[in-house]
């Protein structure tokens, strides 16, 4: 097990396309870090550079206390679980899992022990003699995991390993990987575009967009203190609502727009006063909205209901306010009808303010 550190890691393709731009990330020994971002953001490229499958343009990758920039993958002591699983179709499950050890000239008995151990953990014992083609998607996925486990690598790298599974299996396997992490206490770097996966499994999450690291933090930190507009919008489901409002500073400082009003508390007003902004982007999460029109500071919206989606415990409300689409999650059981006019509100601590031009959170200074 080892620490993995990326220092100013950069990848520029031959065409000049900058895929990863000065990525700095320190993954502690035994930590589970998710690289998350929209597709094409460079997260997979970063992972492949750690694995040694992609040449590094500049910057450094350390695994343990060794710089591995020029090491071929086999000398980096890492395992990679591929999105496609990349199982050798002509080898049995046993051979697939044992191939790496075999190449390292590990004694047969030891390989056997390691493979059987991994198979037991992953519940694959019954399939060891089968070929990958005879397995279901979920089983193949577990073989891919098993191949990584058997090697006992310094770090596990996983490239969207769940994206080829159906929704139900994905939830199951997610839990399995989380359990595996606890059990092995291994360093894991996990790439996904699905923020739910990241939120549920990771110790820390690194959000990447356009090759640039946006924010690193625990799921809770990212959720509660997004550093910028992008992270705020990317983390959380459904996504945060954003509206641009005009700043009106005075006795009662407020932000106002068509159908939306924010009465600022003192700290927020002070922040805005400092910046001297004329407009500001206001974000608020759908799950923080409540129906009603309280007094005091906070956000209030008057809107008319466009669509109501029943989710069981909750209802997802798509509402229109001043030409803007907003989403709110409220407790089910109300008698909300399409076309109804409603008031929605949120408390000041659930209102996020971002600079309108580069999207930085005001709270993060």
């Amino acid at each position: 097990m080892a620490r993995v550190a990326l220092e100013d890691l950069t990848k520029r393709y031959a065409g000049g396309n900058l895929a990863v731009d000065k990525l700095n990330l320190d993954v502690a020994d035994g930590e589970f870090v998710c690289l998350v971002g929209p597709s094409g953001c460079g997260k997979t490229t970063a992972l492949r550079m750690i694995a040694g499958l992609e040449d590094i343009t500049s910057g450094w990758v350390r695994i343990g206390d060794k710089v591995v920039n020029l090491l071929p993958p086999r000398d980096r002591d890492i395992a990679l679980v591929f999105q496609s699983y990349a199982l050798y179709p002509h080898m049995s499950v046993f051979d697939n899992m044992g191939f790496g050890l075999q190449l390292r000239k590990t004694p047969k008995a030891q390989i056997d022990k390691a493979v059987r151990n991994a198979a037991r953990i992953l519940d694959l014992e019954a399939f060891l003699d089968r070929k990958p083609g005879q397995l279901s998607g979920g089983q193949r996925q577990r073989v891919a995991l098993g191949r990584a486990i058997v090697r006992e690598p310094a770090a596990f790298l996983m490239d969207e390993p769940l994206s080829n599974l159906d929704a139900k299996l994905r939830v199951q396997t997610r839990a399995e990987i989380a359990r595996l992490h606890q059990r092995l206490e291994a360093t894991m770097i996990y790439v996904t575009h699905d923020q739910v996966e990241a939120m549920t499994m990771a110790d820390r999450i690194a959000v990447i967009n356009d090759g640039v690291l946006q924010q690193v933090g625990t799921p809770k930190e990212l959720y509660e203190q997004p550093r910028n507009h992008f992270v705020a919008g990317f983390i959380g489901s459904p996504s945060m609502n954003f509206v641009d409002l005009a700043v009106q500073l005075g006795n009662t400082s407020r932000l106002a727009g068509d159908g939306v009003e924010v009465r600022l508390d003192d700290t927020q007003a002070a922040l805005l006063r400092d910046r001297g902004l004329e407009t500001v982007t206001v974000g608020f999460r759908p799950e923080h909205l409540e129906i009603g029109k309280p007094e005091g500071p906070g956000l209030r919206v008057s809107a008319s209901i466009d669509v109501v989606e029943f989710l069981g415990n909750d209802e997802l409300i798509h509402a229109v306010s001043g030409g803007r689409d907003l989403v709110a999650v409220v407790e089910a059981g109300g008698s909300l009808q399409v076309g109804d006019s409603i008031f929605l509100s949120a408390s000041p601590r659930h209102v996020y303010l971002f600079e309108p031009d580069h999207g930085l959170s005001l709270a993060s200074r």
Partner: protein, 317 residues
């Protein structure tokens, strides 16, 4: 009662309709099968004729057609083969495994075909691996060069290569022209473009992830090639090998040129030589031709699927 009657009437109606459809279909289907059957028969006739001629007494060749066997099956005899394979008073050419005999030609042909096939398959696989999974620059250019060579007629090379062999001899004292290796070297060269083309097309279908998984598992290029790519590429390699085998086995021109002067002949050279002797003995030719087609025919029928795949890979892609 009435409904039962109606059902009965309906059943009759359906039966009648079915009969009408059948009647319309049957004759045309029969005619079609008949025509296709005739074509098939026609296509087999040359082969059948060769086989029967080889089993008829030599003296009858100019007197009556092979088809008279149909009314006089007692004509059939193994004598031609005996005279061809074993030394008998009727043997006109070397027999047994003596140089110039049919069995010697069979061995010679195999001694050329097997190495030429193995080499082309191996070298093509290696080259295709490099073209598909290597990361050096200029792979596309090299591949296009190979595509360009696909249809180059071998005529453009025979004279210079013959000279090349000659100068190789004067440099090193090693004779290549007129030897089996000389023939093999030339066959391999002209088998490679197609071989590399076919293998490359197949290898591009192997997911790159597999190779990367192998690299992470600790495999070097050679291990990846041997343990991952070769097993996966086996169907293509089989197609290539069978295609190449039949091609080389049946070649005449390369043997004619590069085996010139050698006492050992390929099967095609053996037959070609027979047609050019003054008394062209068709019994020798027919029995010899039968022996010459046994091996490629057996391979063709055993591996027809792979052979077809090789043909398709070369032509459609």
């Amino acid at each position: 009662m009435t409904s039962a009657l109606r059902t009965q009437g309906l059943a009759q109606q359906v039966a009648r309709q079915r009969w009408r459809i059948l009647r319309r279909l049957r004759p045309s289907r029969l005619v079609l099968n008949g025509i296709i059957g005739l074509i098939a028969l026609f296509w087999m006739l040359p082969t059948i004729s060769l086989a029967i001629i080889s089993f008829r007494p030599a003296g009858l060749f100019n007197i009556s057609g092979w088809w008279t066997v149909l009314t006089a099956p007692t004509q059939l005899t193994l004598k031609n083969y005996q005279d061809l394979l074993f030394s008998t008073p009727h043997s006109v050419i070397p027999t047994g495994f003596a140089a110039g005999s049919i069995l010697d030609s069979l061995v010679t042909t195999a001694a050329i075909t097997i190495p030429a096939t193995v080499l082309v398959t191996a070298i093509s696989s290696l080259a295709a691996y490099s073209l598909v999974f290597g990361r050096w620059r200029g792979r596309t250019v090299v591949f296009l060069g190979i595509v360009a060579l696909l249809v180059v007629p071998l005529q453009v090379a025979i004279i210079p290569v013959a000279q090349l062999y000659a100068s190789f001899k004067s440099l090193t004292g090693i004779t290549v022209f007129g030897t089996l290796p000389g023939v093999v070297i030339f066959h391999v060269a002209f088998g490679l473009p197609f071989g590399i083309f076919l293998m490359r097309n197949f290898y591009t279908g192997i997911p790159k992830d597999l190779l990367e998984a192998g690299r992470i598992d600790g495999a070097g290029e050679w291990t990846l090639f041997r343990r991952v790519v070769i097993p996966l590429g086996l169907p293509a390699a089989a197609s290539l090998a069978i295609f190449q085998f039949i091609w080389v086995w049946n070649d005449l021109l390369v043997g004619l040129v590069f085996l010139g002067g050698n006492a050992h002949h390929t099967l095609t050279l053996f037959l070609y030589g027979q047609t050019r002797t003054l008394a062209a003995d068709y019994w020798v030719i027919s029995a010899g031709a039968m022996i010459s087609v046994i091996v490629p025919l057996a391979i063709f029928f055993a591996f027809q699927r792979y052979f077809v795949r090789g043909v398709l890979a070369g032509a459609v892609k």
